[in-house]
Amino acid sequence: MTRPSRTRQLPALALLAALAALPFALGHDPYLLNALITTGIVTIAAMSLNLLLGFTGQLSLGHIAFFGIGAYVSALTSLGFDVELFGGLRVVHEPWPPAVGFGLAVLATAACGYLVGRLSFRVRGAYFVIVTISFSEVVRLVALNWVELTQGPLALTGIPPLGLWLPGLGTTVLRTKLQNYYLVLAVGTLCYALIGRLVASRFGRAMRGLKENESLALSLGINATRTLTLAAVISAAMAGAAGSLYAHYLRIIDPDVFLFSTTVTMVIMVVGGGKGTLLGPVVGGLIFGLLPVALRPVMVPEAQWMVFGLVLIGIQFVMPRGIVPGLVRLVARRRPAAASSSPVPAEVRP
């Protein structure tokens, strides 16, 4: 498979243009803008989950751990802390700029991703799923109980907003919703492009080869440990970046950022949109991120969650490959000649 051509990127570029114009179409409505920003942040996390779930076929149900660790590392770096470790060792950290927090969040989650990636080679299938859930629950319990560091259920408050340094403009502190919207859009676009390049590269072919037929891929000399670990590192770092954005946008975080239900939301976004496709998690993210906004006037949150659960069940029966591949196939059936120029990197064909 060659690098995606310009025409293949057309749907993605059109979506980007539409998203860039969206705040003006909405007339800067703060409620909708807020929903779009949080949806965008979770969508970035869903895109990173897709790298594992969709492209390497590893069902990681602890993805929220990376998101939450990113949020906490970034928040604590920019707030500072003063804790006493075992043995009376006192660690004092003075506040650093939020942008440094963002960088550290990416590095810390990449390291966590390395550990999980190494583990994924040891344990597969059901075991991997359960070990990732356990990992995220342990992290949640630490955030809940290490009150000296995290304030526990009282939450970390007063997290400073991110500042953006641009040549010629100096540093702008991103306080308004509009600024944060474009920041999330920019980071999301960057992650999208990065995943696109990765998937189309030699490394991407190795990932898909391992997913489709592991023994065949191994016999061709693909290094499974290295490939899976690298995928986990990149995936975790992106989720950590999303978590950092979340912390500096909301400016308050508590151990509930680690809730399993957010992982489920991400999984619904990826699986519903189309796992193993570039646009899938973005389309799924927008649909399922904004669905609560549409449902809010007509039903209580419990009922919304029931809808989410039914959607997750229904997709497996009706559209097991997700919305984007479903649409692509529909278009391809109408225009047989255009089948090869789908915006979706086709899975390795025999």
Binding site: G125, V138, M306, L312, I313
Partner: protein, 290 residues
Amino acid sequence: MNEFLQHLLNTLILGGTYALLGIGLTLIFGIMNVVNFTHGALYTVGAYVMYLAVTALGLNFFAALPTAILGGLLLGAVLDLALLRPLRGADMDTTMLVMIGAGIVLQSGTLWLFGGVAKSIPTPFPDAPLQLGPVSVSWLRLFVLGAALVLIGLTYWLINRTRLGLAMRATFQDHDTAALMGVNVRLIYTATFAIGSSLAAAAGALLGPVYVVFPQMGGMAELKAFAIVILGGLGNVTGAAIGGFILALAEELGAGYISSGYRDAMGFLIIIAVLIFKPTGLFAKAERIG
């Protein structure tokens, strides 16, 4: 020393219900190859059926327990017929996602119906605990242990001494050969899922009166059940029974001597440690069930 004895006694009582949870989950995994993400929701449903039977229906406490178990049995059968039977042959990830969806529907449905306020189930037992030398135990907890042991015994009898159990064991070993020998494999799957679900409901109905009943109670119970099953080896019933007691011991000692905030973390630490050092579980050889 007395404190330690008390922890051991608590372990025994908690371990019985944990073993029930684990056996149900490991049966379903071993025979059907399904990671049951509705297990926690069924635990919650069991507790709520118990609550409704005692309060709304005015049933006797001892009659409410079989009602809750029957409720779990029926709900399990419905879940299998509606969701799992059409997906036979689908890969494990698909059934896992469907079961996660079903778990969400059940949990949010419970929250919708009953609200988030925790409820307590009235019991006929005296408040004063039974003093056994240096340790004490409430009559309710003693009943919970007894009931759990009876249910574990019943499950063993069912698996090892009945025709249904024979068919289940045959299906576990090789479902194609079992089908050729005249076993109705589809029926065995439904029966397995229903029985596993009824054990989860029983655990909820037993622990519901000990603690309180609330819609999210199943989440942690489900993760603990995973820990127990991994400890014992996936599909290993005896392993799950022992694993239940080991997890209870780890939690009791962890809460007693380290920090009560990390009581629930013990299960996860066990999972991670077992999978790193002995991924097949402590009692390997899951070649046969029973």
